[in-house]
């Protein structure tokens, strides 16, 4: 990254993190860009909102349903039924997908009806919403696979992981304006590819090829499900 890029990043960082003049509000809601509405067209705003909603809704459903089912022992019933662990966890992933898609469609409808935004590629948007929800939901299923009996036990560490991902995924700061280290981290976040793919579908352009985004989202789904199955096997072996 050159000097110009570094300066831009410093500006962006200070905008994000500096409190307002009264110093009473925390950084994010207080971001000057957000306050002034600079560069935040309805189209961009809806894109950001959809990405965030998909990410948080889908990745929250897994821990909630798995841990509640563990507590009511209905998960034991499923775990001793003739179903493979992968099949069972994929089913739980689909539950998260349904929730996330239903919630994420709300800002889209508002965007279309109220702000008259144009969706560049509707078919791609539908596909991307479903694929993103699946990979985020699988991430949530992985969180829910830790042998906890209270939702809070899992939600706190999962939040610690999810918030940093949100910051490096190009939602608040465009990827091309991030420092190199942040851009490297952004590549391990499924949200980076989901957000980029949603941007492609809505605006027709993105930071990286849409094909790459669309190919990597299922890869994340498989990776997270694999990790969740491994974790359940470990729990089964060690008997936590």
């Amino acid at each position: 990254m050159g000097n110009a890029g570094r300066e831009e990043w410093q500006d962006e960082k200070s905008e994000l993190l500096e409190p307002d003049s009264g110093g009473t509000k925390p950084g994010l809601g207080n971001c000057r860009q957000v306050r002034r509405g600079v560069g935040l067209s309805p189209q961009t705003g809806i894109t950001h909102l959809m990405s965030m909603i998909l990410f948080f809704t889908a990745s929250t459903t897994g821990p909630v349903i798995l841990i509640l089912e563990r507590r009511t022992r209905t998960l034991d019933r499923l775990m001793t039924a003739p179903l493979s662990m992968g099949c069972l966890l994929f089913g739980k992933t689909l539950v998260g997908v349904v929730f996330a898609v239903v919630v994420a469609v709300i800002p889209l409808i508002i965007g279309l009806a109220v702000f008259h935004i144009n969706v560049h590629n509707p078919a791609l948007l539908v596909g991307v919403i479903i694929l993103s929800a699946m990979s985020f939901s699988a991430l949530g299923v992985w969180f829910g696979s830790f042998p906890a009996r209270s939702v809070g036990t899992v939600m706190m560490p999962s939040t610690l992981l999810r918030w940093p991902l949100l910051f490096v995924s190009g939602i608040f700061i465009p990827l091309e304006r991030m420092p190199v280290w942040a851009r490297i981290i952004s590549h391990i976040s499924p949200l980076t590819y989901a957000h980029d793919a949603v941007t492609h579908a809505v605006s027709g352009s993105g930071c990286q090829p849409a094909v790459l985004d669309v190919m990597l989202l299922p890869a994340f789904l498989i990776l997270f499900l694999f990790m969740a199955v491994r974790l359940y096997r470990r729990v089964r072996r060690l008997g936590y």
């Binding site: 209905t74 089964r236 072996r237």
Partner: protein, 338 residues
């Protein structure tokens, strides 16, 4: 398909270690097809861990398990299809109706839609839940939830039924209902693996019983065989026509009495020679102006066997320490609860 003539359950060298704790220590047993097998043990003896391994919920640290010839965990899906599992806590979906729960259970076992609908109705009828078929399970009493849990375990006509404390906390009517059902199921060819700490239930229902203690099978056999193994222990049960609070003196000092245990409004006198104890009890009642309304000689109960095997001396709890309960024993192991 399971190989012909193979035992319903076969466990060899079954071991489970949780870190440094050896919960189950290389146990072996076979359970024949069509048997009701009772699995008893005090708290922390390794009962639950063993059942969890048999039902594929946990992987053993060492040893092998075969369910109708299917090796675990390699063929766990095939083995699970043959099992019905009733855990200690009823695990029904409270937001679903009774019929909804049954149909969902059928779906999990990949039963065709028509078959699961028919079987659900059949089970609702058998379990006396037909009139509540469309009521959400959250409105069910404990007994009804229990019945529904058992019904869900039977939806796919399993060959082996694992029952964990099937009648714990149930009223007399529901308990009798479940016991009758277990017998009926067994008559229809279902193998039953019963885990309980209610020894009288095991004694009443089981063809064979295993007692596990400190992770090892302490003994295994029919209830009669186990009782015979400690036949030296006999008791004289006497009941007086007086409330226990009326200050009936202790009978522990009578000739031939080894131990005395309060039992309801009577006493159980442990002895090696009932013939010596009976006349002494009769004399005692005359001397104290008490009327005997019941006098029986009894062989050892399965509970006595359990206490003896788990290191709690039979009849060791005397009338004076009744507050600790008959199951307390010398080692204060907390009996068989849980």
């Amino acid at each position: 398909m399971s190989p012909e003539g193979s035992p319903a359950i076969e466990a060899r060298g079954l071991t489970k270690r949780y870190g440094k704790l050896l919960a189950v220590d290389s146990i072996d047993f076979d359970i024949s097809d069509g048997e009701i097998f009772g699995f008893l043990g005090p708290n922390g003896a390794g009962k639950t861990t063993t059942v969890m391994m048999l039902t594929t919920f946990l992987e053993p640290t060492a040893g092998t398990i075969r369910i109708h010839g299917h090796d675990l965990p390699r063929e766990s899906l095939e083995a699970r299809a043959l099992m019905g599992i009733v855990p200690e806590e009823s695990n029904i979906y409270t937001e679903l109706t009774a019929e909804g729960n049954l149909r969902f259970a059928g779906k999990v076992y990949r039963m065709p839609r028509k078959a699961r609908k028919q079987r659900a109705r059949e089970l609702l009828e058998i379990f006396g839940l037909s009139d509540r078929a469309h009521v959400k399970a959250q409105e069910f009493s404990r007994g009804m939830r229990r019945r529904l849990t058992v019904a869900m375990a039977l939806i796919h006509n399993p060959k082996i039924l694992f029952l964990d404390e099937p009648i714990a906390g149930l009223d007399v009517q529901s308990a009798r209902y479940i016991k009758t059902l277990v017998r009926d199921l067994n008559e229809s060819g279902v193998t039953v693996f019963l885990t309980t700490h209610q020894i009288e239930v095991a004694s009443e229902l089981c063809h064979r019983v295993a007692i596990i203690d400190h992770g090892r099978i302490a003994t295994i056999g029919t209830p009669d065989e186990l009782k015979t193994s400690i036949e030296s222990v006999q008791t004289v049960a006497v009941t007086f026509d007086a409330p226990e609070g009326d200050g009936i003196p202790s009978l522990a000092g009578l000739p031939g009495v080894n131990h005395e245990v309060k039992s309801g409004n009577g006493r159980r006198l442990y002895t090696d020679s009932p013939a010596d104890v009976i006349p002494a009890v009769v004399n005692f009642s005359r001397e104290h102006g008490l009327r005997i309304i019941g006098l029986n000689t009894l062989g050892p109960s399965l509970e006595d066997v359990f206490l003896k095997i788990t290191g709690q001396e039979v009849g060791s709890v005397t009338a004076s320490s009744e507050g600790e309960g008959k199951r307390g024993g010398k080692r204060g192991k907390g009996g068989m609860a849980g």
